[in-house]
Every structure is written in structure tokens, then in C-alpha cells.
Symmetry: C2
Subunit: 401 residues, 2 copies
């Protein structure tokens, strides 16, 4: 062949930490805090079991057949109604597209907006899965500095002025992945103003929105949007069950129309059965009551983990105290390489896994961080894992001192 | 903005017949032969109902949780074992990637191989869903003429010589969509030789492979492959239930590795629950016996439809007599526009829908064809719909004479 076998975009699509770390998490000898697993014991299994049995068992079951590509109409209605109720956002069924998890929204929005060489602006650090999704579209990245109130808007403004081909800002305003931090209300307002002034889209990822267990809910960027610039992604993965693979996108009508074409092209439709099952669950059960149970459970797990870390970690290691979501973000002393430590000592001696932080950075990587999940493991394993990690960390830092 | 909002690729992603026609099919007043719907009354509903109830109902249900991106390991084993058994192809679990229907395979292979301006060679006509999937990658197309034995290999050779940037050949060797035709064994052998000589990939779509109700099974292109050039797509949509959205791809290890990265990027993974349910179905039930039932039912429906067409259609309209699959392909007299007729008279007077053939063509469109599905409607509606269509067709052709 006179030309490369693989398309040029494949040069940017490379194996990375997530795949390897999910495999590590599957080793029963390792207590993994690497994934973003919700607590499986909290899934509404009995309710879903009854619903699936009924839907799959209907003669000539409609739920096993093809359906319309944009998603089951009843479910689109329910998602829109719930967004109106929980966010006060203007939203109707036709503004909602059902997706194969919100990850698919990242893939489709990348396809919709990014030409090779366009720039995507993200929090620094940001969600690794977004970098993976955008990679085939070959974007460049600019990262915006964060503190305990989310992105620094002065830095955002400087980046926007400095980046003529910025295409959109990708942000997780609630309990950000990986840091667990929320974007404050004044910064949300300024972000909308900046997006309007620079004529740029915002991709708002609300995967963790509902899992708030402390503090007060803040307006979503979509509810603050004045010019149809916000494309919002959401998901049932954290509030119902990730194994169903159902999420959604809501945006201005011309954006939804284009994303609908890309959804049809990508995989025809989501599982009819899984959409019907979630629709039935929402119709028959009180999902808000279920989410309240999750909030209580995750607050307790977060506190258990942070208490254990406060007791067992060396003082030089700090961590965020999130008001919701699934993650805390560890910061080790300058010069500490979280990935090297994990490979050299932590996996073998503490039998614990996290996600080293370097791969979460859109530009210059910082090696002295790690993302830790507190939702997926049992209380016993949280205490055992974090105690063991603290012990090995203390030893490691003492050796270095 | 000084540059376009949408990525350049979106110029090729446009609304088309499938979306509109699926909407028409949803109108209960219309008897639609437009979709590729399997017969819902043949779904193994009771078995699936029991399996779903059990899997979703397990405490801390693993089947509702995240799993590995490449697909449930047990299901990959079962798919590989079945390919060995039914095709005699060399295949193991690691050669298989579970996908969101085989449509996702078209999207991922497009991403893997196509740079803008590369050429994809297809049957002429070919599957509309493939054109839709490849569109975001901005390929060109060359079509290869077909007869009752599939693609004309002299024409294929001429096209290959004439197309330096041909990237792969997309083909449906069994019961092709839309024509229902099979590629003969000598042509399969020559196709492999030509692919080897020209250093080109073959994307073999076997979505209908198992639904053979007449004639003898032919070797798959994958089983004839000598150089790892065949990427094969398969699906449970036609042999189990399309609403589960589970298909697969099998190919050489370096291809599977790249496609696995693209799958992770696109939507993380398929539904854990649906993969587990199909795996349990394959373990506990005899899918070959189930497929035998489908074969008998679809042969009967095909014969019912063709008998009705023979009785009621004007002689100037011909149609293929497929040995399997879900479709027959109508050819109207030269100068007849199947889409204009459908809109002007057929929908209103016969209350019947098909897919006009023009949009199935990769290059010059032929307007005097239509694709008709015989699997999705009841016997009564097949007879009523085809009788009504014949009546309006006779009147239309008589007016023109």
C-alpha cells in the first residue's frame, strides 16, 4: 500500500490508563478505588427484575424490537420533565436524545464540532473518558486552572482571548471528575457571559448532578444559558444502574437534530428494552426517594474514607472533601510520582489501586495526584484499603525524607 | 465566529430516507415493509423474561454494574465458539469484540480506516445504514455491478485497478441488503484473491448469515481469508432480538485492538445486562433450534409474499427470490420513479410503505427499484398490503401505457 492502512486519526487513539486500570480492578486480590463504580448493593434490583420480566415476556414484545433512533418517546418525555423539575431548565421531549450512556454524548459532540486542529478547553485536570472520546477528532487542548471553587475565570478569559479556534468548553460543574470540586455560582454566571462574548459552546456534563449529599444545589449552566450555547449531558448510570447504558443529551433544536443523525449513524438506537425498563421504573417508582438513599449512603462512605485517610495518611498528603459525586482527589508532595509509586509499591504491598492523576491533564501533566473512588467498595474494604495505603505511603515518604 | 460552527464532516451527514421511513412505518394506518424488522412474535420472550428477571434481581447485581469494554468474557467465548461451529472460521474469544449491534461495527471500521477522500468499494446497490455510518469519515464511493450471483468480479477488478486510494470493500455476501442476493463461491474465491493482490481490506457483514431457508451454506469470506484481510461483522438482531442491541466484530488481533480503543471511546461498553442475558440464553437454550424455527417461518413468509406478488403485481414488475434474509428487491420498468410513486399514490391509496431504491446506490442512483421486507408483518398484512400495492401499481402502469 502506498498510503497508511489506518486513518490518520488513529495516531491520536492510543491505549491508556483506563483500560489497564479497569483490568487491575478486576483482580480480586486488589482493592480497587480506580473505577467510577456506583455501589451495586444499592441498585433497585427487585424493581428492575420485575419490570424486565414483564417487558421481555410480553408476547411479540415491543421492547425486544427496533424502535425510533432518537429514543423511546415516553422516556424522552420523562427525562425532560425531570430536568424541568430538578434544574428548572426549559426542556421538552423533543430537546432530548437518548444515548448509550453520556460517554456517547462526548463522542457525538466531538464529531459534531471538532475539526482537526480545533481547540477544546477543559478543566485542568478533567475527565479522562472525554479525552478518549474526543481523540479520534484530533483536537488540541487548553486547560483552565482550578481551585476549590472550580475553574479560575480570569484564566478562562485569558485562554479564550489566546485561542482563536477554541470550539467549546467541556466542564463538569458538579463534583468534577477527577477532583470532586463544584463550580461556584458567580463563576457559572461569568462562564456564560464569557461563552456569549466569545461565541463558543459549553458542553456541560451532569453525570453526578443528582448525587449531592452536602451543600446547596446550584443552577445548572443550561438553566443559566441565554443563547442556546449549552449542550448538556446526563446519565442514569449513577442514579439507577450503569450496566443499562442509558444517558441523554439536551441542547438547542438544531444541535439535537444533528446529534440525532450522528446517533443513527453510530449505532441505530439504544436498547429498546433498557429504555422501556427505565421508563417503567420512572413511572412506577419514586426515583427521588431512591436518590435520597444513594445520597445518604455515599455521604457515609465518603466520610468513612476521609476519616480513614485522616487517621492513616501522612500529613503531607492532602485530599478534597466533595459535597457529592464519587471521587476525592489526592495531592502528594511535589516530586512524588503517583503512578510510579502505584506500580513499584502500592499494588504489591497495599493491594490497592487508584487512578494516577497525570493522564487527567489536558496539557502539562502533574504526576503528584491520584483519583480515588469511595462509592464502589464495601465499608470493610474502604477501611482496609485506605489503612494499608496510608501505611505504605508513610513508609515511602519517610524513606524519601 | 470566523470559522464554521459544525465540523466539516457534518456537510456529509444529512437526513435521509431511513429516518423518515421509520417514522412512516410507525403510523398504524400504513402497512410498512420498509424496516428490517424481524417477526416479534418469534422472539424467545419467555426464556428471555426468566433470564432478565434472574440477572437483574441478583443482590448487588453484577449485570447492572459496569464491566470490561471489550465485552462480557463469557459472551465473547460463546460467539467465537459459534463462529467456529457455523463457519469453520479460526476464531477465539480474544478475536471478538462485542458491539452495540453490527451498525456500531460500521461506525468503528469507518473511523479506523477512512481518511477524507479515501474510497470505499461497495455492492451497487448496498446497505443504506453503511453509507450513513461512513458519512462522518467523508469517503468517496465506487459501486460494483451485481447480478443474481452477487458482485461482478471483472467489474471489481476494473474498479480496483482504477481506484488507487480504495481503502476497503464493504460486502454482505449472504442475502444482501437490499437485493437479497448471495455471492457465489467462485466469486468469493476471486474476491479474496483480488483483495490480496491489491492489498485491501474486506468488511464482511454477516447480519443475515444464519437466516438461510433454502440452498446450501457457502463459506464465509473470513473462512476463505488467507492474509487477515477480512473484518467480519455479526449480530444477534436477526436471530434473537434487535432491541437488545448486541452484535460483534471479529478480525485480526491488531485490528481488534484498535477497534477496542474506538469502542471504549464511543460508549465505554455495551449493556452489561443485555450481554449477560444473551450469554445465559446461549448457555441454557438451543439457539440453533430457535434459528430453525425462524428459518421455517421466514421461508413461509417469503413464499406468501412472493406468491401474492406473482398473483397481484403487473408483469412488468420483477423481484428477487432470496434464499434467506429479510428482503426482496423490486425492479420496476425503466423510467418508473419508485419514490415519486410511493409519495403520490402508494402511501395514500395502497396504505403500504417500502424503501425506494435510489438511496441504496453508492454512485449513480437508479430510481426504478424498491426494497421490501417480508419478515416484519403478519400473514394477513402481507397479503393485504401486497394485494393493494399490486392493484395501484397495475393502475399506475396502465395509465402510463
Amino acid at each position: 500500500m502506498k498510503y497508511p492502512i489506518f486513518a490518520q486519526r488513529m495516531a491520536r487513539v492510543q491505549p491508556n490508563a483506563i483500560g489497564e486500570l479497569l483490568r487491575m480492578g478486576a483482580d480480586p486480590a486488589i482493592i480497587s478505588f480506580a473505577g467510577g463504580y456506583p455501589d451495586g448493593t444499592l441498585f433497585p434490583s427487585r424493581a428492575l427484575s420485575e419490570i424486565f420480566a414483564e417487558l421481555a415476556g410480553q408476547h411479540g414484545a415491543q421492547s425486544l424490537q427496533y424502535t425510533v433512533s432518537d429514543g423511546a418517546p415516553a422516556l424522552r418525555e420523562q427525562i425532560a420533565a425531570r430536568l424541568v423539575k430538578t434544574q428548572g431548565a426549559a426542556c421538552s421531549a423533543s430537546d432530548v436524545l437518548v444515548l448509550q450512556g453520556s460517554q456517547q454524548g462526548l463522542d457525538l459532540v466531538g464529531k459534531l464540532l471538532i475539526d482537526p486542529g480545533d481547540t477544546v478547553i477543559t478543566e485542568s485536570p478533567s475527565f479522562l473518558g472525554a479525552f478518549i472520546a474526543f481523540a479520534p477528532c484530533e483536537p488540541r487542548y487548553r486547560g483552565v486552572r482550578m481551585d476549590e471553587n472550580g475553574m479560575d475565570m480570569d484564566h478562562m478569559e485569558a485562554v479564550l482571548k489566546d485561542t482563536p479556534r477554541a470550539k467549546f468548553i467541556y466542564t463538569i460543574p458538579e463534583f468534577q471528575n477527577p477532583t470532586g470540586v463544584c463550580l461556584s455560582l458567580p463563576r457559572r454566571q461569568r462562564l456564560i457571559e464569557l461563552a456569549n462574548a466569545h461565541g463558543i459552546f459549553i458542553l456541560e456534563d451532569t453525570a453526578y448532578w443528582d448525587v449531592r449529599f452536602a451543600g446547596e444545589a446550584l443552577p445548572s449552566l443550561k438553566s443559566l444559558d441565554t443563547q442556546g450555547r449549552v449542550i448538556q449531558l446526563g446519565s442514569f448510570s449513577k442514579i439507577l444502574a450503569p450496566g443499562l447504558r442509558i444517558g441523554w443529551v439536551t441542547a438547542a433544536p438544531e444541535i439535537i437534530a444533528k446529534l440525532g443523525l450522528l446517533k443513527l449513524a453510530a449505532d441505530t438506537q439504544c436498547s429498546t428494552l433498557n429504555m422501556a425498563a427505565i421508563s417503567a421504573y420512572l413511572a412506577r417508582h419514586d426515583i427521588e426517594a431512591h436518590i435520597d438513599v444513594l445520597r445518604g449512603a455515599y455521604r457515609r462512605k465518603k466520610e468513612l474514607m476521609l476519616d480513614t485517610m485522616r487517621r492513616s495518611f501522612p500529613q503531607e498528603v492532602s485530599f478534597t472533601d466533595p459535597e457529592g459525586g464519587l471521587f476525592t482527589w489526592l495531592t502528594f508532595p511535589q516530586g512524588f510520582d503517583a503512578e510510579a509509586f502505584m506500580r513499584a509499591r502500592m499494588l504489591g504491598e497495599a493491594k490497592v489501586a487508584y487512578v494516577p492523576g497525570a493522564s487527567f491533564y489536558p496539557e502539562a501533566q502533574e504526576a503528584n495526584h491520584a483519583r480515588v473512588n469511595y462509592s464502589g467498595q464495601s465499608d470493610e474494604r474502604i477501611v482496609a484499603g485506605m489503612t494499608a495505603l496510608g501505611r505504605v505511603l508513610k513508609d515511602e515518604l519517610a524513606r524519601r525524607a
